[in-house]
């Protein structure tokens, strides 16, 4: 069963200029994106910076209001609700069922609150009694591997990795049905990244978390996700189960992302050149396939007709005209 179903989610930001603030253009940050997250599953949303993955995450949590589309969320009781049109007030009872892990562990914790109060805040605002809160905070600290004394300290007394653990504890406080993790490890050192990834894996096992994991690095995603969705300039270009996708990417962009994952072996120099050029401007998307200016396999068709996302192999969706003809290298 799906915890979350996103259908044709679109978010446009108007560009305004001039004295009258007329709309002169639109940034198509997210353009008709559809995917789902099954219960107990982790879906990774991957792409370069600026591809719209964080916007997707914020729309789902309704920190942003989507321009159009549906965000169907299965509530604890099994009732399905579309979050997209809901008002701030109507959202409040649902908010507790979906929580976020933030990218920057320094900005996401209020520096003026004790760690215990930070973790207890979701409990407090949702009316959990004080005694239960105390017990729950201790339980959560243990769950994320922090000592009990941590609750009477301020965030500045902790390292980045420890702060991220605090952020995770806060996200888990209300036993949410869905966790949206927005690049939870990209602000951390590599060694600390591994610890946080291990913690997330451990929590997936123990709590059967359903998670949308946003990342720009396929290397990290490989360990945590069951399925992967790759985004490019506001659109999903490929989805598939993690192992299959890593073995054989079907979209040239996925292949390029994989080639850019650093390999911890100095003798292995890659023959494939890194991706040239920049991500296309979301306010001025190239005609045809948005990836064609950077694609080594682009043909005339790619410049004219925009490829739609379609099932190219059972269980795999790809938005590429040449998905079937190309044989692209995966990882290892």
């Amino acid at each position: 069963m799906n915890v979350l179903e996103v259908e044709s989610l679109t978010k446009h930001f108007p560009i305004r200029a001039g004295l009258l603030q007329r709309e002169v253009g639109r940034i198509r940050a997210v353009d008709r994106v559809s995917f789902h997250v099954a219960r107990g599953e982790t879906l990774a949303l991957v792409g370069e910076s600026g591809c719209g993955k964080t916007t997707v995450a914020r729309c789902i949590l309704r920190a942003l209001a989507p321009t159009s589309g549906a965000i169907r969320f299965t509530q604890e009781g099994g009732e399905i609700v579309d979050l997209a049109p809901l008002s701030r007030r109507a959202l409040r009872p649902i908010r507790r069922q979906m929580q976020m892990i933030f990218q920057d562990p320094y900005a996401s914790l209020n520096p003026r609150m004790l760690v215990g109060d930070i973790i207890a805040e979701p409990l407090l605002v949702n009316g959990v009694p004080a005694a239960t809160r105390q017990a729950r905070v201790l339980e959560l600290l243990e769950l994320v591997g922090l000592p009990a004394v941590a609750r009477s300290r301020f965030p500045f007394a902790f390292s980045g990795g420890q702060r991220q653990r605090i952020g995770i504890a806060r996200a888990l406080a209300l036993n949410p049905s869905l966790i949206v993790a927005d690049e939870p490890v990209s602000a951390l050192d590599v060694s600390v990244q591994a610890q946080i990834i291990n913690l997330l894996l451990d929590l997936q096992d123990r709590l059967r978390l359903s998670m949308l994991f946003v990342a720009h690095d396929l290397g990290v995603v490989r360990h945590v996700s069951d399925r992967v969705a790759v985004m490019y300039v506001g659109r999903i270009v490929e989805t598939g189960p993690t192992t299959a996708l890593y073995d054989r990417p079907l979209h040239p962009y996925t292949a390029a992302l994989m080639a850019s994952v650093p390999k911890p072996d100095p003798d292995r120099r890659d023959a494939t050149p890194p991706l040239a050029g920049d991500v296309a401007d979301a306010a001025n998307i190239p005609p045809g396939c948005a990836f064609h200016p950077r694609c080594p396999h682009a043909v005339a068709r790619c410049r004219e007709i925009r490829p739609e996302l379609r099932e190219t192999i059972p269980g795999r969706m790809t938005a590429c005209h040449r998905a079937e003809e190309l044989t692209l290298a995966g990882v290892d």
Partner: protein, 371 residues
């Protein structure tokens, strides 16, 4: 550095310190700010205890005492500790036949502490006539003139002490009022944005683009002549704060705009926290330091405003006593040539304004102990 050797205990102390403790630790490192804090506290003590510290009635005029130069207290008399001042003796000028009074080295008048003097209400409630210093015996013309006297024979020191009260209070009241205005209007502007924001911002720009002195003149002219000193005092406070709030409102608006996008604010919103909780628990504490700094930097502006208004004759009017009014007496160059001590009234203005600026500086650094 001493912090290289850290016992486990001291680290715990640091990690679990409250914000106030951290702020204080940081503040103590700024020596100039600590000195300024002491000065500011002293000034406000003077303001509170003004009448007790004053020696003679600041309003009492006596033509015979006109322009007496500053007079020190002599502490020793023939080797014994016997504080005294010299009495005044009148001599007739042989050319002008004018009777002038000058200290008479022959007459020693003992100085006493907690002596009885003019009647006043301590802290505005307790009726008393005890003053810190006073003369024992002596004639009506005698007195202690630490900073000399003005043309009307009023003791400048006593007047300066009493003026401190009005000048500092007007600063506080003005800042208090502009703080309220600035927080509310800046908060609305930053929180709601849109047309409200635009309207408030244009209003601020308009207010800030009006040259202040002609505006003050206009407003001061509109105060009715018949108003009492107290009414004028309040009107001046309001006038000053009506222009003082703009800076604070900008600071508050800017912080609201920045904090609205902060991850921890979004986190609280996603946790389901209400808007009131987000504003008061997350946003306000985060820019309290900015407000404190802006306030302590606004105070000297307020004090200067009052002083310059009164100096120009647009603010408080005699018989009220403020620093500006005292300086008004020092406007005349001829008077200044014969009685330069009248300029002493500028000294407390300079000291308090420097002190407030250093204090604000220290507070701003200290209030962000996590930075």
């Amino acid at each position: 550095m001493s912090s290289t050797i850290h016992s486990a205990g001291s680290e715990d102390r640091f990690a679990e310190a409250t914000q106030l403790q951290l702020t204080w630790w940081r503040f103590k490192r700024h020596k100039l700010a600590v000195i300024s804090l002491v000065l500011v506290v002293l000034f406000y003590l003077v303001a509170i205890l003004a009448d007790f510290l004053a020696i003679s009635d600041p309003h009492a005029t006596d033509a015979r005492r006109s322009f007496i130069p500053p007079q020190g207290i002599h502490f020793f008399d023939d080797g014994a500790f016997r504080p005294h001042v010299k009495g005044l003796k009148g001599t007739r000028d042989p050319k002008t036949f004018k009777l002038t009074y000058a200290p008479d080295p022959g007459r020693k008048l003992p100085v006493r502490m907690f002596a009885r003097g003019y009647d006043y209400h301590l802290l505005g409630v307790i009726p008393t006539n005890i003053h810190l210093l006073g003369l024992e015996g002596g004639e009506a013309v005698d007195g202690i003139f630490l900073l000399g006297t003005d043309q009307l024979g009023r003791d400048l020191y006593s007047r300066l002490v009493v003026a401190t009260r009005i000048s500092l209070l007007i600063g506080l009241a003005g800042v208090g009022l502009s703080l309220v205005l600035g927080l509310i209007l800046g908060g609305i502007s930053g929180l709601y944005g849109g047309i409200v924001d635009t309207a408030i911002q244009r209003l601020i720009e308009m207010i800030r683009s009006i040259p202040t002195i002609p505006l003050w003149m206009g407003l001061a002219a509109s105060l009715p002549n018949t108003w009492s000193v107290t009414q004028v005092y309040f009107a001046i406070t309001i006038i000053i704060s009506l222009f003082g709030w703009t800076e604070l409102a900008r600071v508050v608006r800017g912080r609201f705009l920045a904090l609205r996008e902060e991850d921890f604010v979004i986190a609280a919103e996603l946790a389901g926290a209400g808007q009131m909780r987000i504003i008061f628990r997350h946003m306000l504490p985060s820019f309290a330091s900015h407000v404190i700094a802006a306030t302590s930097l606004a105070l000297p502006t307020m004090i200067i405003s009052e002083t310059s208004l009164s100096f120009l004759g647009l603010g408080l009017r005699a018989p009220a006593i403020s620093w500006g009014i005292l300086l008004q007496d020092a406007q005349n160059v001829q008077v200044l040539a014969s009685a330069p001590w009248l300029l002493m009234a500028a000294l407390p203005v300079i000291v308090i304004i420097l002190a407030f600026n250093f204090l604000g500086d220290g507070l701003r650094d200290a209030a962000d102990p996590y930075g």
